[in-house]
Symmetry: C2
Subunit: 260 residues, 2 copies
Protein backbone atom coordinates (compact mmCIF):
# COMPACT_ATOMS: atom_id res chain seq x y z
CA UNK A 1 0.00 0.00 0.00
CA UNK A 2 1.23 3.46 -0.81
CA UNK A 3 0.74 6.93 0.53
CA UNK A 4 -2.84 7.21 -0.78
CA UNK A 5 -4.04 4.56 1.67
CA UNK A 6 -2.55 6.15 4.75
CA UNK A 7 -5.06 7.08 7.42
CA UNK A 8 -4.56 10.13 9.61
CA UNK A 9 -5.31 9.18 13.23
CA UNK A 10 -6.00 11.75 15.94
CA UNK A 11 -5.48 10.87 19.62
CA UNK A 12 -6.56 12.60 22.81
CA UNK A 13 -4.33 11.56 25.71
CA UNK A 14 -4.03 11.97 29.47
CA UNK A 15 -0.83 11.31 31.41
CA UNK A 16 0.89 11.75 34.73
CA UNK A 17 4.14 13.42 33.76
CA UNK A 18 5.84 12.79 37.09
CA UNK A 19 8.15 10.01 35.98
CA UNK A 20 8.67 11.11 32.38
CA UNK A 21 11.32 13.40 30.91
CA UNK A 22 8.51 15.31 29.22
CA UNK A 23 6.54 14.59 26.06
CA UNK A 24 9.15 14.86 23.32
CA UNK A 25 11.01 11.66 22.41
CA UNK A 26 14.66 11.49 23.45
CA UNK A 27 17.11 8.69 22.76
CA UNK A 28 18.26 8.26 26.35
CA UNK A 29 15.25 9.19 28.47
CA UNK A 30 11.78 7.86 29.15
CA UNK A 31 9.27 10.16 27.47
CA UNK A 32 5.50 10.05 26.95
CA UNK A 33 5.83 10.24 23.17
CA UNK A 34 8.49 7.51 23.13
CA UNK A 35 6.41 5.21 25.32
CA UNK A 36 3.29 5.75 23.22
CA UNK A 37 5.07 5.29 19.89
CA UNK A 38 6.40 1.97 21.14
CA UNK A 39 2.95 0.82 22.26
CA UNK A 40 1.34 2.00 19.00
CA UNK A 41 3.98 0.24 16.91
CA UNK A 42 3.27 -3.01 18.76
CA UNK A 43 -0.47 -2.66 18.41
CA UNK A 44 -0.50 -1.47 14.78
CA UNK A 45 2.36 -3.63 13.53
CA UNK A 46 4.13 -0.68 11.92
CA UNK A 47 6.58 2.01 12.87
CA UNK A 48 4.71 5.09 14.13
CA UNK A 49 5.79 8.74 14.26
CA UNK A 50 3.58 10.60 16.65
CA UNK A 51 3.19 14.37 16.33
CA UNK A 52 2.10 15.84 19.65
CA UNK A 53 0.42 19.21 19.96
CA UNK A 54 2.33 20.37 23.02
CA UNK A 55 5.87 19.49 24.06
CA UNK A 56 5.08 19.33 27.76
CA UNK A 57 8.12 19.53 30.05
CA UNK A 58 9.31 16.90 32.52
CA UNK A 59 6.80 16.61 35.37
CA UNK A 60 3.99 18.40 33.53
CA UNK A 61 0.71 16.46 33.38
CA UNK A 62 -1.92 16.27 30.66
CA UNK A 63 -5.67 15.81 30.84
CA UNK A 64 -6.16 16.43 27.13
CA UNK A 65 -2.94 16.37 25.12
CA UNK A 66 -3.52 15.67 21.44
CA UNK A 67 -1.38 13.94 18.84
CA UNK A 68 -1.74 12.57 15.33
CA UNK A 69 0.01 9.96 13.21
CA UNK A 70 -0.22 8.42 9.75
CA UNK A 71 -1.13 4.76 9.63
CA UNK A 72 -1.02 2.29 6.76
CA UNK A 73 -3.24 -0.31 8.43
CA UNK A 74 -6.97 -0.95 8.72
CA UNK A 75 -7.05 -1.51 12.49
CA UNK A 76 -10.22 0.12 13.90
CA UNK A 77 -9.59 3.21 16.04
CA UNK A 78 -11.46 1.68 19.03
CA UNK A 79 -9.07 -1.25 18.95
CA UNK A 80 -6.09 1.10 19.03
CA UNK A 81 -7.50 2.78 22.17
CA UNK A 82 -8.18 -0.47 23.97
CA UNK A 83 -4.99 -2.28 22.96
CA UNK A 84 -2.67 0.61 23.80
CA UNK A 85 -4.39 1.31 27.12
CA UNK A 86 -4.18 -2.38 28.04
CA UNK A 87 -0.51 -2.37 27.09
CA UNK A 88 0.44 0.75 29.06
CA UNK A 89 -1.77 -0.56 31.86
CA UNK A 90 0.95 -2.06 33.96
CA UNK A 91 -0.99 -5.24 34.36
CA UNK A 92 -0.68 -5.27 38.12
CA UNK A 93 -3.70 -6.17 40.26
CA UNK A 94 -5.76 -3.02 40.66
CA UNK A 95 -3.22 -0.67 39.23
CA UNK A 96 -3.64 1.52 36.18
CA UNK A 97 -1.02 3.02 33.91
CA UNK A 98 0.44 6.51 33.75
CA UNK A 99 -0.80 7.18 30.22
CA UNK A 100 -4.30 6.78 28.88
CA UNK A 101 -5.64 7.29 25.37
CA UNK A 102 -9.00 8.98 25.91
CA UNK A 103 -10.09 9.02 22.28
CA UNK A 104 -8.92 8.04 18.78
CA UNK A 105 -10.54 9.31 15.58
CA UNK A 106 -9.78 9.22 11.88
CA UNK A 107 -9.25 12.71 10.44
CA UNK A 108 -8.96 14.24 6.94
CA UNK A 109 -5.45 13.98 5.45
CA UNK A 110 -4.64 17.65 6.03
CA UNK A 111 -5.23 17.52 9.80
CA UNK A 112 -2.15 17.85 12.05
CA UNK A 113 -2.38 17.80 15.87
CA UNK A 114 -0.03 20.77 16.23
CA UNK A 115 -0.42 22.84 13.06
CA UNK A 116 -4.24 22.59 12.99
CA UNK A 117 -4.59 23.64 16.63
CA UNK A 118 -6.21 27.04 17.33
CA UNK A 119 -5.13 27.21 20.94
CA UNK A 120 -4.82 25.46 24.27
CA UNK A 121 -6.06 25.66 27.81
CA UNK A 122 -3.81 24.84 30.75
CA UNK A 123 -4.77 24.48 34.39
CA UNK A 124 -2.25 25.36 37.08
CA UNK A 125 -2.94 23.96 40.57
CA UNK A 126 -1.77 25.80 43.67
CA UNK A 127 -2.32 24.32 47.12
CA UNK A 128 -2.58 27.26 49.52
CA UNK A 129 -2.35 25.82 53.02
CA UNK A 130 0.00 26.26 55.93
CA UNK A 131 0.98 22.58 56.01
CA UNK A 132 2.14 20.73 52.92
CA UNK A 133 0.54 17.42 51.90
CA UNK A 134 3.33 14.98 51.13
CA UNK A 135 1.05 12.90 48.89
CA UNK A 136 0.33 15.88 46.60
CA UNK A 137 3.91 17.11 46.34
CA UNK A 138 4.21 16.26 42.63
CA UNK A 139 0.73 17.36 41.63
CA UNK A 140 0.47 20.96 42.76
CA UNK A 141 2.49 24.01 43.80
CA UNK A 142 2.53 24.07 47.61
CA UNK A 143 2.28 27.66 48.87
CA UNK A 144 2.41 28.01 52.68
CA UNK A 145 1.75 31.78 52.97
CA UNK A 146 -1.83 33.02 52.50
CA UNK A 147 -2.57 34.34 49.01
CA UNK A 148 -4.65 37.40 48.24
CA UNK A 149 -6.83 35.86 45.55
CA UNK A 150 -8.56 39.16 44.71
CA UNK A 151 -5.21 40.82 44.01
CA UNK A 152 -4.26 37.86 41.81
CA UNK A 153 -7.53 38.11 39.88
CA UNK A 154 -6.92 41.82 39.30
CA UNK A 155 -3.40 41.11 38.02
CA UNK A 156 -4.64 38.23 35.85
CA UNK A 157 -6.83 40.70 33.92
CA UNK A 158 -3.73 42.45 32.56
CA UNK A 159 -2.51 39.23 30.96
CA UNK A 160 -5.56 38.78 28.74
CA UNK A 161 -5.27 40.06 25.17
CA UNK A 162 -2.91 40.12 22.21
CA UNK A 163 0.44 41.29 23.57
CA UNK A 164 4.16 40.77 23.33
CA UNK A 165 4.82 38.27 26.11
CA UNK A 166 8.64 38.21 25.90
CA UNK A 167 8.72 38.77 29.70
CA UNK A 168 7.13 35.34 30.19
CA UNK A 169 9.56 33.35 28.06
CA UNK A 170 12.33 31.18 29.50
CA UNK A 171 15.56 30.73 27.62
CA UNK A 172 16.11 27.27 26.18
CA UNK A 173 12.91 26.69 24.22
CA UNK A 174 12.52 26.43 20.46
CA UNK A 175 13.37 29.92 19.06
CA UNK A 176 10.21 31.77 17.99
CA UNK A 177 9.93 34.42 15.30
CA UNK A 178 7.51 36.46 17.35
CA UNK A 179 6.76 36.66 21.06
CA UNK A 180 3.28 38.09 20.44
CA UNK A 181 0.48 35.77 21.55
CA UNK A 182 -3.20 36.10 22.34
CA UNK A 183 -4.30 35.05 25.81
CA UNK A 184 -8.06 34.37 25.84
CA UNK A 185 -8.52 33.94 29.58
CA UNK A 186 -6.76 33.75 32.94
CA UNK A 187 -9.40 32.55 35.43
CA UNK A 188 -8.83 31.80 39.12
CA UNK A 189 -11.15 29.48 41.02
CA UNK A 190 -11.04 27.35 44.15
CA UNK A 191 -11.92 23.67 44.00
CA UNK A 192 -15.29 22.81 45.57
CA UNK A 193 -14.00 19.49 46.90
CA UNK A 194 -10.79 21.00 48.29
CA UNK A 195 -11.17 24.75 48.96
CA UNK A 196 -7.43 25.06 49.68
CA UNK A 197 -6.74 24.12 46.04
CA UNK A 198 -6.58 27.15 43.77
CA UNK A 199 -6.81 26.51 40.04
CA UNK A 200 -5.64 29.00 37.44
CA UNK A 201 -7.01 28.34 33.95
CA UNK A 202 -4.96 29.96 31.21
CA UNK A 203 -6.16 29.74 27.60
CA UNK A 204 -4.53 31.23 24.53
CA UNK A 205 -3.70 30.74 20.87
CA UNK A 206 -0.17 29.67 21.72
CA UNK A 207 2.38 29.87 24.49
CA UNK A 208 6.06 30.67 24.74
CA UNK A 209 8.47 28.35 26.58
CA UNK A 210 7.39 28.11 30.27
CA UNK A 211 4.93 30.96 29.72
CA UNK A 212 2.06 29.57 31.83
CA UNK A 213 4.41 28.64 34.69
CA UNK A 214 5.99 32.12 34.70
CA UNK A 215 2.55 33.80 34.62
CA UNK A 216 1.52 31.67 37.63
CA UNK A 217 4.79 32.30 39.48
CA UNK A 218 4.27 36.05 38.97
CA UNK A 219 0.63 35.84 40.13
CA UNK A 220 1.79 34.06 43.32
CA UNK A 221 4.23 36.88 44.12
CA UNK A 222 1.37 39.32 43.67
CA UNK A 223 -0.77 37.09 45.91
CA UNK A 224 1.89 37.38 48.62
CA UNK A 225 1.49 41.18 48.46
CA UNK A 226 5.13 41.63 47.44
CA UNK A 227 4.03 43.34 44.24
CA UNK A 228 0.93 45.35 43.41
CA UNK A 229 -1.55 43.82 40.92
CA UNK A 230 -1.02 46.78 38.59
CA UNK A 231 2.66 45.89 38.29
CA UNK A 232 1.61 43.08 35.94
CA UNK A 233 1.00 45.68 33.25
CA UNK A 234 4.54 47.11 33.61
CA UNK A 235 6.11 43.65 33.66
CA UNK A 236 4.48 42.79 30.33
CA UNK A 237 5.38 46.18 28.83
CA UNK A 238 9.03 45.74 29.89
CA UNK A 239 9.42 42.57 27.74
CA UNK A 240 12.06 41.67 30.34
CA UNK A 241 12.07 38.12 31.78
CA UNK A 242 13.95 39.49 34.79
CA UNK A 243 10.95 41.62 35.81
CA UNK A 244 8.50 38.70 35.99
CA UNK A 245 8.27 36.20 38.87
CA UNK A 246 9.91 32.81 39.27
CA UNK A 247 8.88 29.89 37.08
CA UNK A 248 6.29 27.95 39.08
CA UNK A 249 7.13 24.22 39.44
CA UNK A 250 6.11 21.79 36.66
CA UNK A 251 4.04 19.46 38.90
CA UNK A 252 1.22 22.01 39.17
CA UNK A 253 0.75 22.32 35.40
CA UNK A 254 -1.88 20.33 33.47
CA UNK A 255 -2.51 20.61 29.71
CA UNK A 256 -6.30 20.59 29.91
CA UNK A 257 -7.44 20.84 26.29
CA UNK A 258 -6.48 21.76 22.76
CA UNK A 259 -8.83 23.80 20.58
CA UNK A 260 -9.35 23.06 16.87
CA UNK B 1 28.75 11.12 78.52
CA UNK B 2 27.72 7.56 79.17
CA UNK B 3 24.57 5.50 78.94
CA UNK B 4 22.91 7.28 81.88
CA UNK B 5 22.68 10.50 79.89
CA UNK B 6 21.03 8.99 76.87
CA UNK B 7 17.60 10.37 76.04
CA UNK B 8 14.90 8.19 74.53
CA UNK B 9 13.23 10.08 71.68
CA UNK B 10 9.87 9.12 70.22
CA UNK B 11 8.89 10.17 66.69
CA UNK B 12 5.57 10.18 64.87
CA UNK B 13 6.11 10.13 61.10
CA UNK B 14 4.17 10.38 57.84
CA UNK B 15 5.53 9.25 54.50
CA UNK B 16 4.63 8.49 50.93
CA UNK B 17 6.02 4.99 50.43
CA UNK B 18 5.77 5.06 46.66
CA UNK B 19 9.46 5.50 45.90
CA UNK B 20 10.87 3.63 48.90
CA UNK B 21 11.75 -0.06 49.26
CA UNK B 22 9.70 -0.07 52.46
CA UNK B 23 10.55 1.09 55.97
CA UNK B 24 13.31 -1.27 57.05
CA UNK B 25 16.88 -0.21 56.27
CA UNK B 26 18.67 -2.15 53.53
CA UNK B 27 22.23 -1.69 52.37
CA UNK B 28 21.41 -1.39 48.65
CA UNK B 29 17.97 0.19 48.57
CA UNK B 30 16.36 3.50 49.45
CA UNK B 31 14.25 3.02 52.56
CA UNK B 32 12.33 5.35 54.86
CA UNK B 33 14.31 4.26 57.93
CA UNK B 34 17.61 4.64 56.10
CA UNK B 35 16.72 8.10 54.83
CA UNK B 36 15.56 9.25 58.28
CA UNK B 37 18.58 7.82 60.10
CA UNK B 38 20.83 9.75 57.74
CA UNK B 39 18.91 12.99 58.30
CA UNK B 40 18.84 12.47 62.08
CA UNK B 41 22.56 11.74 62.18
CA UNK B 42 23.25 14.98 60.34
CA UNK B 43 20.98 17.02 62.57
CA UNK B 44 22.04 15.42 65.89
CA UNK B 45 25.72 15.01 65.09
CA UNK B 46 25.74 11.35 66.15
CA UNK B 47 25.03 7.98 64.63
CA UNK B 48 21.36 7.05 65.12
CA UNK B 49 19.65 3.66 65.18
CA UNK B 50 15.96 4.12 64.63
CA UNK B 51 13.52 1.46 65.83
CA UNK B 52 10.30 1.67 63.85
CA UNK B 53 7.04 0.24 65.08
CA UNK B 54 5.92 -1.23 61.76
CA UNK B 55 8.08 -2.57 58.94
CA UNK B 56 5.86 -1.24 56.19
CA UNK B 57 6.42 -2.83 52.77
CA UNK B 58 7.54 -1.11 49.58
CA UNK B 59 4.82 1.25 48.37
CA UNK B 60 2.93 1.30 51.67
CA UNK B 61 2.25 4.78 53.06
CA UNK B 62 2.15 6.04 56.63
CA UNK B 63 0.10 8.77 58.25
CA UNK B 64 1.25 7.88 61.76
CA UNK B 65 4.22 5.52 61.83
CA UNK B 66 6.16 5.68 65.10
CA UNK B 67 9.82 5.13 65.89
CA UNK B 68 12.20 5.70 68.77
CA UNK B 69 15.94 6.17 69.18
CA UNK B 70 18.50 6.79 71.91
CA UNK B 71 20.30 10.11 71.76
CA UNK B 72 23.35 11.33 73.62
CA UNK B 73 22.82 15.02 72.83
CA UNK B 74 20.86 17.88 74.32
CA UNK B 75 19.27 19.10 71.08
CA UNK B 76 15.65 20.14 71.80
CA UNK B 77 13.03 17.83 70.27
CA UNK B 78 11.37 20.73 68.39
CA UNK B 79 14.66 21.44 66.70
CA UNK B 80 14.94 17.81 65.58
CA UNK B 81 11.50 18.04 63.97
CA UNK B 82 12.22 21.28 62.16
CA UNK B 83 15.76 20.45 61.06
CA UNK B 84 14.92 16.98 59.76
CA UNK B 85 11.80 18.18 57.95
CA UNK B 86 13.79 21.00 56.35
CA UNK B 87 16.45 18.52 55.33
CA UNK B 88 14.10 15.96 53.79
CA UNK B 89 12.22 18.89 52.23
CA UNK B 90 13.76 18.72 48.82
CA UNK B 91 14.41 22.40 48.80
CA UNK B 92 12.70 22.95 45.47
CA UNK B 93 10.44 25.95 44.99
CA UNK B 94 7.02 25.00 46.34
CA UNK B 95 7.76 21.33 46.73
CA UNK B 96 7.64 19.33 49.95
CA UNK B 97 9.37 16.09 50.85
CA UNK B 98 8.14 12.53 50.94
CA UNK B 99 8.73 12.11 54.67
CA UNK B 100 7.55 14.35 57.48
CA UNK B 101 8.18 14.11 61.21
CA UNK B 102 4.83 15.04 62.76
CA UNK B 103 5.97 14.98 66.38
CA UNK B 104 9.03 14.30 68.55
CA UNK B 105 8.86 13.72 72.31
CA UNK B 106 11.20 12.59 75.04
CA UNK B 107 10.06 9.34 76.67
CA UNK B 108 11.02 7.31 79.78
CA UNK B 109 14.03 5.02 79.24
CA UNK B 110 11.94 1.84 79.04
CA UNK B 111 9.78 3.07 76.13
CA UNK B 112 10.28 1.33 72.79
CA UNK B 113 8.29 2.26 69.66
CA UNK B 114 7.65 -1.39 68.75
CA UNK B 115 7.69 -3.33 72.03
CA UNK B 116 5.60 -0.76 73.93
CA UNK B 117 2.91 -0.62 71.25
CA UNK B 118 -0.52 -2.03 72.11
CA UNK B 119 -1.81 -2.11 68.57
CA UNK B 120 -2.17 -0.33 65.27
CA UNK B 121 -4.80 0.99 62.92
CA UNK B 122 -4.40 0.77 59.17
CA UNK B 123 -6.56 2.37 56.49
CA UNK B 124 -6.94 0.66 53.14
CA UNK B 125 -8.21 2.83 50.26
CA UNK B 126 -10.20 1.32 47.41
CA UNK B 127 -11.33 3.44 44.50
CA UNK B 128 -14.51 1.88 43.17
CA UNK B 129 -15.22 3.51 39.82
CA UNK B 130 -15.53 2.28 36.27
CA UNK B 131 -12.69 4.45 35.02
CA UNK B 132 -9.28 4.50 36.69
CA UNK B 133 -7.65 7.79 37.70
CA UNK B 134 -4.08 7.73 36.46
CA UNK B 135 -3.03 10.29 39.10
CA UNK B 136 -4.17 8.04 41.96
CA UNK B 137 -2.66 4.82 40.63
CA UNK B 138 -0.11 4.54 43.46
CA UNK B 139 -2.41 5.71 46.25
CA UNK B 140 -5.39 3.37 46.13
CA UNK B 141 -6.60 0.02 44.84
CA UNK B 142 -8.51 0.69 41.61
CA UNK B 143 -11.54 -1.60 41.37
CA UNK B 144 -13.58 -1.21 38.16
CA UNK B 145 -16.48 -3.57 38.96
CA UNK B 146 -19.16 -2.36 41.39
CA UNK B 147 -18.70 -3.57 44.95
CA UNK B 148 -21.49 -4.74 47.23
CA UNK B 149 -20.49 -2.73 50.31
CA UNK B 150 -23.18 -4.30 52.51
CA UNK B 151 -21.87 -7.80 51.77
CA UNK B 152 -18.33 -6.60 52.56
CA UNK B 153 -19.49 -5.11 55.88
CA UNK B 154 -21.16 -8.39 56.78
CA UNK B 155 -17.98 -10.33 55.97
CA UNK B 156 -15.84 -7.81 57.87
CA UNK B 157 -17.74 -8.68 61.06
CA UNK B 158 -16.30 -12.22 61.01
CA UNK B 159 -12.74 -10.87 61.11
CA UNK B 160 -13.18 -9.03 64.43
CA UNK B 161 -12.05 -10.88 67.56
CA UNK B 162 -9.20 -13.00 68.88
CA UNK B 163 -8.60 -15.71 66.30
CA UNK B 164 -5.93 -17.70 64.53
CA UNK B 165 -5.34 -15.67 61.38
CA UNK B 166 -2.93 -18.08 59.63
CA UNK B 167 -5.11 -17.79 56.48
CA UNK B 168 -4.17 -14.11 56.21
CA UNK B 169 -0.39 -14.53 56.41
CA UNK B 170 1.92 -14.35 53.38
CA UNK B 171 5.07 -16.42 53.27
CA UNK B 172 8.28 -14.41 53.57
CA UNK B 173 7.70 -12.36 56.70
CA UNK B 174 9.50 -12.66 60.02
CA UNK B 175 8.54 -16.10 61.46
CA UNK B 176 6.00 -15.71 64.29
CA UNK B 177 5.50 -18.10 67.21
CA UNK B 178 1.76 -17.70 67.07
CA UNK B 179 -0.65 -16.65 64.35
CA UNK B 180 -3.32 -15.70 66.90
CA UNK B 181 -4.10 -11.98 66.90
CA UNK B 182 -6.91 -9.75 68.15
CA UNK B 183 -8.64 -7.59 65.54
CA UNK B 184 -10.49 -4.73 67.27
CA UNK B 185 -12.36 -3.37 64.26
CA UNK B 186 -12.84 -3.66 60.51
CA UNK B 187 -14.90 -0.63 59.48
CA UNK B 188 -15.92 0.31 55.94
CA UNK B 189 -16.81 3.89 55.04
CA UNK B 190 -16.97 6.05 51.93
CA UNK B 191 -15.10 9.33 51.79
CA UNK B 192 -17.36 12.40 51.98
CA UNK B 193 -15.19 14.37 49.59
CA UNK B 194 -14.89 11.50 47.11
CA UNK B 195 -17.80 9.04 47.44
CA UNK B 196 -16.12 6.61 45.03
CA UNK B 197 -13.31 6.18 47.56
CA UNK B 198 -13.99 3.33 50.00
CA UNK B 199 -11.87 3.23 53.14
CA UNK B 200 -11.44 0.10 55.23
CA UNK B 201 -10.10 0.78 58.74
CA UNK B 202 -8.52 -2.29 60.34
CA UNK B 203 -7.32 -2.06 63.95
CA UNK B 204 -5.74 -4.83 66.01
CA UNK B 205 -3.12 -5.69 68.60
CA UNK B 206 -0.77 -6.92 65.92
CA UNK B 207 -0.74 -8.12 62.33
CA UNK B 208 0.86 -10.99 60.43
CA UNK B 209 2.83 -10.38 57.24
CA UNK B 210 0.50 -8.81 54.62
CA UNK B 211 -2.50 -9.52 56.86
CA UNK B 212 -4.37 -6.25 56.23
CA UNK B 213 -3.82 -6.46 52.50
CA UNK B 214 -5.06 -10.07 52.35
CA UNK B 215 -8.13 -9.20 54.45
CA UNK B 216 -8.90 -6.36 52.02
CA UNK B 217 -8.27 -8.53 48.94
CA UNK B 218 -10.67 -11.12 50.36
CA UNK B 219 -13.29 -8.46 51.14
CA UNK B 220 -13.08 -7.21 47.54
CA UNK B 221 -13.78 -10.71 46.18
CA UNK B 222 -16.81 -10.85 48.47
CA UNK B 223 -17.80 -7.38 47.23
CA UNK B 224 -17.75 -8.73 43.66
CA UNK B 225 -20.29 -11.38 44.73
CA UNK B 226 -17.90 -14.21 43.84
CA UNK B 227 -18.03 -15.45 47.41
CA UNK B 228 -20.74 -15.19 50.07
CA UNK B 229 -20.02 -12.95 53.11
CA UNK B 230 -20.41 -15.98 55.41
CA UNK B 231 -17.49 -17.67 53.63
CA UNK B 232 -15.18 -15.36 55.60
CA UNK B 233 -15.84 -17.48 58.68
CA UNK B 234 -14.80 -20.70 56.89
CA UNK B 235 -11.72 -19.06 55.39
CA UNK B 236 -10.49 -18.05 58.85
CA UNK B 237 -11.34 -21.47 60.33
CA UNK B 238 -9.40 -23.21 57.53
CA UNK B 239 -6.12 -21.47 58.52
CA UNK B 240 -5.26 -21.93 54.84
CA UNK B 241 -3.75 -18.98 52.93
CA UNK B 242 -4.98 -20.60 49.73
CA UNK B 243 -8.61 -20.13 50.77
CA UNK B 244 -8.33 -16.35 51.29
CA UNK B 245 -8.33 -13.75 48.47
CA UNK B 246 -5.42 -12.13 46.67
CA UNK B 247 -3.12 -9.73 48.47
CA UNK B 248 -4.44 -6.24 47.69
CA UNK B 249 -1.77 -3.91 46.25
CA UNK B 250 0.52 -1.95 48.64
CA UNK B 251 -0.36 1.54 47.33
CA UNK B 252 -3.79 1.42 49.00
CA UNK B 253 -2.39 0.75 52.47
CA UNK B 254 -1.75 3.50 55.03
CA UNK B 255 -0.46 2.96 58.56
CA UNK B 256 -2.83 5.38 60.29
CA UNK B 257 -1.85 5.19 63.97
CA UNK B 258 -0.10 3.20 66.64
CA UNK B 259 -1.70 2.69 70.06
CA UNK B 260 0.30 2.85 73.30
Amino acid sequence: MGYMNERNIFLKIAYDGRDFSGWQRQSNARTVCGELEEALADVCGAEITLEGCSRTDAGVDALGQTASFLLDSGIPTERIVKAVNDRVYRGRFGKCGEIEILEAREMPPDFHARFSSKGKRYIYKIRNAEKADIFLRDYCFQVDEPLDIEAMKLAAGFVVGTQDFACFQSAGGTPRESTVRTVFEVELSCSERSPEMLEIAVAGDGFLYNMVRIICGTLVEIGFGRRAPQEMEDIIASKDRGRAGRTAPPGGLYLKEVFY
